[in-house]
């Protein structure tokens, strides 16, 4: 079931949560709405679910080509998973999962035996067999969120929506559950949209990422696309750590205070425009001596932190700008930079954005 959103706007009083947003979620995909708080991602999710209504006359939402704008919350065939689980705390796990089937009108309600079968099947799917008699308060956060997911899936929704599903969990549980959700999606293939502010989570779980900011979609694409070919400065900045250098473009040449920072490509800028250069910490390398014929930027090592998957080195250049470099451990063992030491930085890759133009 595809979701087609065209030109949706939403305002709360004077605050504009969504500005003319259009989005297509292809059938069976797992899409992440990624953005900082206040970017409109949760509002968009709630509008898809029917919990919130878009502004009058501001476009349409279609499920598989059918307009659902007029249908009520319960009629859209949407499964919704809340950040804080929203389990019915006075019901057992079994009753929680069975709820959506039990409240059906008598004519379409399955028999008790069929309901029990379905609940057991779902418990198997979420790997929590044997917990059906427990109450939500007797479960861990990760277990509760899986129950919430099973409850949403029990009614066989056409679309699954998840609002910061891992937001309330510990870092470790979150990691585990993320991978589990990905595997689960590969198994059941229901069109899913989840909201997150955690770029790592979005990159790891989603088929497609929709980056949102201030009520607009900044970019959408596969994790690879948004990470390696960010459309603009915001996306570059939001997805992963960056070193940011401010500069200007003069006659097609960019100047960021050091020759090593000047991109080879012609910028296309006419003159005097402001520009930003983004360099990811892992796209910088440290050299003890500058290489012949290659531009390098002198800098002083300030701090070295070698605990973790990469070695994080903080440096300061001649202009007093703080620069972060991530070195692989083997490279670090070779270089052994120490605080106070003068070294040279080599830029392996960088992206420049002139005003709103990118190269």
């Amino acid at each position: 079931m595809s979701i087609e959103i065209s030109r949706i706007s939403k305002t709360f009083g004077k605050f504009t949560a969504l500005r003319d947003v259009s989005l297509l979620v292809p059938d069976g995909e797992l899409v992440a709405l990624l953005g900082p708080s206040g970017s409109g991602k949760t509002t968009l999710l709630r509008i898809i679910s029917g919990l919130e209504q878009a502004d009058e006359g501001s476009g349409a939402i279609k499920f598989h080509g059918n307009d659902v704008g007029g249908s009520a919350v319960g009629e859209r065939g949407v499964g919704f998973v809340f950040q804080h689980y929203a389990l019915f705390k006075h019901m057992t796990v079994f009753e929680n999962i069975a709820f959506g089937l039990r409240v059906r009108p008598r004519a379409t309600r399955p028999t008790n035996a069929k309901i029990a079968d379905r609940v057991r099947e779902l418990l198997r799917l979420i790997q929590l067999e044997g917990l059906e008699k427990r109450y939500p308060t007797q479960l861990s956060g990760g277990q509760r969120q899986r129950i919430a997911l099973a409850r949403a899936l029990a009614v066989e929704p056409r679309v699954l929506l998840l609002d910061e599903p891992f937001g309330a969990l510990d870092a470790q549980v979150r990691q585990e559950l993320r991978r589990w959700l990905r595997r689960l999606h590969d198994e059941i293939h229901v069109t899913s949209v989840f909201v997150t502010h955690d770029q790592e989570e979005a990159l790891e779980v989603a088929d497609r990422i929709v980056v949102m900011n201030q009520g607009r979609i900044e970019q959408q694409g596969t994790p690879d696309e948004v990470f390696h070919q960010p459309a603009n400065a915001f996306v570059m900045n939001f997805l992963g750590q960056v070193n940011l250098f401010h500069g200007r473009v003069e006659e097609g040449k960019a100047d960021f205070g050091n020759v090593a920072l000047s991109p080879a490509a012609n910028t296309g800028g006419t003159g005097g425009q402001k520009a930003s250069l983004f360099v990811r910490p892992h796209d910088l390398d440290i050299r003890k001596t500058p290489e012949e014929g290659k531009p390098a930027m002198p800098a002083t090592v300030r701090r070295v932190q070698s605990a973790g998957p990469v070695v994080r080195v903080e440096l300061e250049d001649a202009l007093g700008r703080s620069i972060q470099v991530h070195l692989p451990h083997e490279r670090h063992r070779l270089l052994k930079p120490v605080p106070g030491e003068g070294v040279f930085l080599v830029v392996k890759d960088a992206r420049m954005f002139v005003d709103d133009f990118s190269i």
Binding site: G74, V103, L139, S140, G142, R144, A152, L169
Partner: protein
């Protein structure tokens, strides 16, 4: 007791602090507290029973079997029996309305719910006399249609309804606000109708708060004196509730009978206290659940 404003108290973890307070400060304070409670609460209560049984169990029972006393007991029970269901319905609906919707006049409504607590009970009674009395706004019209409200049972019930209205509404409102509406939204999203959502999700979540409100409401309904006194007209055997009956008997120097009826109200107070204690314990659990479910425990 009947004036008790419903407020739940969380148990304060003040143990560490208490241990640091020197004994010469602690013991006199404890002594004063117990002395005060003993002098002003326990002794009067004991006195009620002592006076009631002064002439023996036989006289005590006879005092309660007196037709006027029986009528007062019956009217009190009837008043409570009508007031409680109405307050449950009004309380639940207004609490739900205020907790779940944003509308013009919402703030005013919250303030108005508390009005009966702010107004002196005697004034509450007078309001009804001014409205329904013979000199009142719609009194003459009522008289023309042969309907009597003031100095009759309907007046007693209306006045009681007025003074007891906030109990259920306030209790339920605060719990509903604490719990939020995620569960209701989840139920609607799973295809439940509004009606089913109410019975299966909303009501079970607030049932302890409703009971708590009902207990306090009942104590107040049965014990109310001021408002009822103004509208009832003190007609023996017809419009006297138990508190009014106690006053009449006492003024007639019929102490044993007065204290016998009073002892029933005192018993009600004791039962109320016990039930209230149990409910507070349950409610503390509910509030903790609500908090936990938003934080999410990790195991």
């Amino acid at each position: 007791m009947a004036q008790a404003v419903p407020r739940r108290r969380a148990t304060t973890p003040g143990g560490a602090r208490a241990r640091n307070t020197p004994a010469w400060v602690r013991w006199p304070l404890i002594g004063v507290s117990f002395g005060f409670v003993g002098l002003f609460l326990v002794m009067p209560m004991a006195a009620v029973f002592a006076e009631a049984f002064r002439k023996g169990v036989g006289v005590y029972m006879d005092s309660l079997r007196d037709p006027d006393a029986l009528s007062a007991i019956w009217l009190t029970v009837l008043t409570a029996a009508i007031t409680l269901p109405l307050n449950i319905v009004f309380g639940l609906s207004s609490a739900w309305l205020i907790a779940r919707f944003r509308f013009a006049g919402r703030g005013l409504l919250i303030t108005l719910i508390d009005l009966p607590f702010a107004v002196s009970p005697v004034i509450s009674g007078l309001i009804f006399v001014l409205m329904f009395g013979l000199q009142g706004w719609i009194g003459p019209w009522l008289k023309g249609h042969d309907i009597q409200i003031i100095f009759a049972v309907p007046g007693v019930i209306l006045a009681t309804l007025f003074v007891t209205f906030p109990f259920v509404a306030r209790e339920v409102l605060s719990l509903m606000q604490e719990q939020g509406d995620d569960q209701e939204q989840a139920a609607l999203m799973l295809g439940a109708s509004g009606w089913k959502t109410f019975w299966r999700v909303t009501l079970p979540n607030v049932k302890w708060a409703v009971l708590y409100g009902v207990i306090l409401c009942n104590a107040r309904a049965m014990g109310e004196f001021g408002a009822v006194s103004v509208v009832s007209g003190h007609v023996r055997g017809r419009t006297n509730t138990m508190p009014l009956q106690v006053e009449i008997l006492y003024n007639e120097y019929n102490f044993v009978a007065a204290f016998a009826v009073a002892s029933l109200l005192t018993l009600l107070a004791l039962v109320t206290l016990v039930v209230k204690g149990v409910l507070e314990w349950r409610l503390a659990g509910e509030a903790q659940d609500a908090e936990e479910s938003t934080k999410g425990i990790t195991a």
